[in-house]
Amino acid sequence: MRFRKLGLLLVVLATAAVVSSVAFAGATSIAGPNEFAPSQEVNRPTPNVDTGYAAPRAIPGHTGQIKNGTPGLTGSFAGVNLMDTRSADNGNAYSIEPPDQGLCTNGTYVLEPVNDAFAIYDTSGNMVRGPKSLNSFFTNDVAITRTSSDGSPFGQFLSDPKCYWDPGNGHWYFTVLEINTDPATGAFAQPGGSAVLIAVSKGTNPRTTRSDWWFYAIDTTNNGGAAHDRSSNSAASPPAARTAYSDTGCPCFGDQPLIGADQYGFYVSTNEFPIFNNGFNGAQVYALDKDALANGIFKMQYVLHSNYDTSSGEWSPSLEGGYIYSVQPATSPTTGSWDTSNNGTEYFLSALDFDGTTDNRVAAWAMTNTSSLATATPAVHLEDYSIVDSEVYGQPPPADQKAGPTPLGDAFGAAYNNGVPYPEPTIETNDDRMNQVVYADGHLWSGVNTVMRTDNGRSTQTTRAGIAWFIVHPTWDESTFGAEMTNQGYISAKNNDNALFPSIGVNADGQGIVTFSVSGHHYYPSAAYARIDLSGVGATHIAGAGGAPADGFTGYEPYGGPPERWGDYSAAVALPDGSVWAATEWIPGTFSFATGGWFANWGTYVMHVNP
């Protein structure tokens, strides 16, 4: 009898299970395709993850298609690469991905930093100083000691370099993020500390010797950003460890320091992440007296403090209900381009895609009274942001590459995959955060990575990575800040190819270029550019054609890939003479795991263009 009851129960349970699964199988909305809906292109509410994203379409003839030739290109050369960074400090360094791309120039010298080395070139591309490691320059140590049995002593963890040459005072500004490292183990040091390190040249020519620079640090371990003078010896005086933290999840670090400048100030913006815990607290913005930095004096105002309240699930402050992130401060090509109204004004742009889907808004920010940074009581004011309706941009997919040899993938396959070579990796396109911003000709110029629907020759259903660019005009109604979109559009490599990581350099007359990487079925990762002005963007031109697929360790499963990490940003800067220097990541194809046992094969490509 007991068995009969059990059987009946099982029949009921099993029937319920079958009915449940059948009913669920009909719920196609969960796994349904991300259909394109034209109505979603403009003025739609912030999407949610369930609905997927609606990718903007590449419009033939209007999206920067690739054309032959290199109009305006007056010079170019291969810049710092993986071999340079790995060989620095007599080999006491790591193989690293991604490079990230800094670039600054005064028209005589070109300073190019990447992870984790930099070099100084003349304008013909001759390396005149370096390559020098970021560790030996910023923290006077080495990343790892290869001659010791355990690698100790380890140096500080440094990453995400950027640099800027100021057209007003002629000095060079060089930044990098630092996370305190245990010298005995190489792990992040307990209880944790971090900083944004700032080096400012004492003279107007860039050099690699430490004595020619002032060194400073903004402590990014927690709310507040106390300043440190690191001019004596930074390795001996990292930020003091704290025992109590007011920001969620801290000790934290300031990720991807973004830099900008106006007539009076030098600006740093970071994304605050816990070093050891889950979480994200939003953007922090710091304003510093620019000229004082060049004279060995550190004066700073902590302007924006963001934090996340885990109990309420709210951001403080919030940006349209979401978090504030990657608030890009602007640089300008000439002294005449700076906005001196409101006692000095610095502008910023940021994106609003909070969930990795799509959005159609851009936030413009203005910081006023920046001339006060030169006084004993700095009192800059970050105005309310202005939301500008924009074209749709959204989370980009990884970029594929032209098929080619991947000797590292083959070797890893032999070691970790039962002898089966790993497939050629895709390339990481990260997300659609705001990239480098330029304030020139009275406008703010920038772009983001975005998902695109491109023409693959048979249909328009191929999803690729492209670029959404924006030209925003800041407006003032007496003392009320606003902004409007002057022009916008997309760059799509089309035809199964991808365009990724834009930087725009624009001269004082509003003529410039967008630089970015191109990769796809027809291209190994290459260095490209397109002209831009207020009327729009021209065709894409390949300045440096890639010579092989990206074949680095982060592209393979044992090291977390694919996709393979790609430089998180490129760089472009206009000079007072109107020309533009730019640099972006590419794969030169001149070295690989096969040729020298290198665990990555990335390089950078520097170009000089008269737009």
């Binding site: 009898m1 068995f3 059987g7 099982l10 029949v11 349970l13 099993a14 029937t15 299970a17 079958v18 449940s20 699964s21 669920f24 719920a27 909305s29 969960i30 993850v49 369930d50 790591y94 193989s95 690293i96 991905e97 991604p98 990230d100 992870n115 984790d116 990343a143 963890f157 990453s159 995400d160 993020l177 996370i179 190489g186 990720d255 991807q256 994304n271 992440f273 889950n278 979480g279 994200f280 885990t310 699930g313 978090y323 992130y325 895609d353 909070f354 969930d355 990795g356 989370q395 990260n430 997300d431 955060r433 360790f553 982060t554 090291y559 977390g560 990490r565 998180d568 665990f599 990555a600």
Partner: protein, 119 residues
């Protein structure tokens, strides 16, 4: 002595389907855990203490918290699920894969990666 109960074959199949615990197991990592990746140093870390939510038709049907090594194990009825984390882990696109399928009678391994937004 009562006669033995003889169940039809289809009933036994359904019995097996119910008894065999369908579900998922695996690990959850946060990636990247640092702005730049160094060869020989893990660039991701176990996502400890993260609550995964498994949703069907926008309704949470199961929650599970990851252990000390980012491991999880969860029983789920066969079907398709959207996976989320109960609290925000980083910025941006969040957890991947976002959608998973559970097959009847199968407890399969699915490893999740949470994009921290660190770059």
């Amino acid at each position: 002595m009562p006669a033995p109960v003889v169940y039809p074959r289809f009933m036994l199949a359904m019995f097996a389907a119910v008894v065999a615990a369908s579900g998922l197991h695996g690990t959850v990592v946060r990636s990247p855990a640092m702005p730049v990746c160094r060869f020989g140093v893990p660039c991701n870390v176990p996502a400890r203490g993260v609550v995964l939510k498994f949703e069907r038709r926008s309704r949470v049907v199961r929650r599970v918290r990851t252990g000390g090594h980012g491991r999880y194990r969860v029983r789920l009825a066969p079907g398709r699920y959207v996976v989320r984390t109960s609290a925000r882990i980083g910025m941006g696109r969040g957890i991947r894969p976002l959608r998973v399928v559970v097959r009847r009678g199968v407890n399969r391994r699915v490893d999740f990666t949470i994009d921290t937004g660190i770059r």
